[in-house]
Symmetry: C2
Subunit: 153 residues, 2 copies
């Protein structure tokens, strides 16, 4: 039962996925939070909340992967894998929702109110939404790859 | 191989799911389209596009289900099941994205511009977003139930 499916928990592909997820989600968080008053719009606060959940989750999974790749191979437990799949799944839905809300609100702000949105701020919102989409994509592929493995356990 | 998992294609539970999906997606489409100029906002046009895809898809699946339940049991083919799973999957993501965008834009319109959004229009937007969320939920559960069956084929 120790065949190596690439992308499942504890492999180097999974380490790369989770590192990318960490980078994108924290970039999205920073673009949205730093020096911007994001809390006047509901969607932006929601994005900050979700990315604040995604970042520690992907950091801890990346740590587990790094331990398993570099130090000592961990035995594969179905219960742990199930928790990882469900968590990734829920967070991928939440981050898709947050990314869509942010993108649509930003596009509305660009269209309607020039006064609400100086061009510098608006491009930061757009960058933040793009990073959230990338983070969603990575966590979704991680879910799919782990789900692939589940029936074989 | 003819055990009856409830909710998979061709059972009465699946018929109920797809009928509900048809009702909710067409309700969302009607609330958004009828007598409203939806095309001035990107998210609303997107919602109309996605719901215009979801409605015929769920109608055709409901017809397949009804044929299988009431007239003649169809043999289960892995290829057809795979197409149904992938289609449901993609449409569930699209409708989640559309529902989130519509909800966030509506909430922004309610907050910011009273002049842009008379209260009657705004409640219709909100109803449309709620219907889109319900339609997403049904198509997502249909995906999950069919996915459950796939490894046994």
């Amino acid at each position: 039962m120790m065949e190596q499916v690439p992308g499942t928990l504890g492999t180097s592909a999974s380490l790369a996925l989770h590192l990318g997820q960490t980078i994108f989600s924290s970039a999205s968080l920073l673009f949205m939070c730093l020096d911007v008053e994001f809390y006047s719009y509901t969607s932006f606060s929601y994005l900050v909340t979700v990315m604040g959940l995604v970042t520690p989750w992907s950091v801890s999974l990346a740590l587990v992967d790094a331990y398993s790749v570099f130090i000592k191979r961990l035995p594969r437990q179905p219960r742990v894998l199930l928790i990882v799949i469900v968590g990734d799944w829920a967070l991928s839905f939440l981050s898709l929702a947050a990314a869509c809300s942010t993108a649509s609100v930003t596009s509305l702000l660009v269209d309607v109110g020039k006064s609400n949105c100086p061009s510098k701020l608006c491009s930061r919102y757009q960058l933040s939404a793009a990073m959230a989409f990338l983070s969603w994509f990575l966590s979704f592929s991680s879910t799919l790859l782990n789900l692939w493995l589940l029936p074989s356990l």
